[in-house]
């Protein structure tokens, strides 16, 4: 009996140590990403954010842009006080709740420009650096007070974010280009970045 008790005690100590060191996790659990892994994931996120489908409405200008060449929006459309255009020229005056593929006009719920504090380009239409976009995205005074999980939820569920992967057809009938990875991959990259503590490049 004393040998059995001693054996149980040793086993308990081994299990406790393993749990404390994190080496006894379940098969499905993953390690917290390192900062380097988080930065790599951020690089993927950044490549999506600066794609025309996203940055065309995260402008530094007083108007939206359109197309892969990111030209000024037709019809002299302006930002307006709430990023939704102005009374005679409202975003919703063309952009309906869903894409209109027969006429080539994209659509989605609550079509609007991102606020100026969420611009991802400079006034010369050049995308901001990876570090600058990252700092801005994680600045809760400029991101609607979103923490890491909030940013992840935004990337995962916001209809206008998801629209980037279902952008519909251009007026000439061809498909609009997509961001450089799938939405699932984008969400997974965001999750890794958030789990790593939303590190930003220097």
């Amino acid at each position: 009996m004393p040998k059995i008790r001693a054996g149980l005690l040793v086993s308990a100590i081994v299990v406790a140590f393993a749990l404390a060191s994190g080496s006894f996790r379940g098969a499905g659990a993953e390690e917290t990403p390192s900062t380097a892994q988080g930065l790599a994931a951020w690089g993927q996120v950044y490549s999506v954010l600066t794609h025309p489908r996203c940055i065309n409405c995260h402008t530094a200008t007083d108007y939206p842009q359109q197309g892969d060449d990111r030209r000024r929006h037709v019809a002299n459309v302006v930002r307006g006080p709430e990023g939704k255009g102005v009374p005679g020229l409202n975003c919703a005056g063309c952009h309906q709740e869903t894409n209109a593929d027969s006429t080539g006009v994209p659509g989605g719920h609550n079509w609007h420009l991102a606020p100026l504090e969420m611009r991802w380009q400079d006034i010369n239409d050049r995308p901001l650096s990876s570090a600058a976009v990252c700092r801005q995205l994680t600045d809760r005074s400029r991101n609607h007070n979103l923490d890491g999980p909030g940013l992840l939820k935004h990337h995962e569920e916001e209809p206008l974010v998801k629209w980037a992967w279902s952008p519909g057809r251009r007026p000439d009938g061809t498909m609009r280009t997509l961001p450089p990875m799938s939405h699932d991959e984008f969400v997974a990259a965001t999750r890794r970045w958030v789990e790593a503590g939303t590190p930003c490049p220097k």
Binding site: A75, N76, V78, G88
Partner: protein, 158 residues
Amino acid sequence: MATYQINVNGQQREVNVHPSTPLLWVLREDLKMTGTKYGCGISACGACTVHLGGIATRSCIVPISHVGDRPIVTIEGISQDVVGRAVQEAWVEEDVVQCGYCQSGQIMSAVALLKHTPKPTEKNIEESMGGNLCRCGTYPRIRAAIKSAAMQVTKGGA
């Protein structure tokens, strides 16, 4: 083809058209309401502007399948509205129209502006009307008419 029930100028109308048919062509060809004009067909000129659910909308690029139950107001029905009536009267007083082709769209955008902003600034007018093109160049008279209508609207408490 599909059947749609739409509300145009307060009246319920039924049309049987292909779902991709732009609202403009439903109005002009099926309902014979030709006050709304075809200009560019790509939402760049504003000649086709109507109000859809209270929003100035380019009817040339909105398929009928996207309209739903939102009320449509066209140039033929805008005089039923106090602001619409004031704008039309101002248009006559200022003798705005030259060839007239773009004017129904101009009036629909002007009404949308004044309903939201009864006392518009110069910038408000420029921004709201900036998408309505006029090849005759009646812009100074359009601007004057909007200011006149604004005075009428605010004086009347509309």
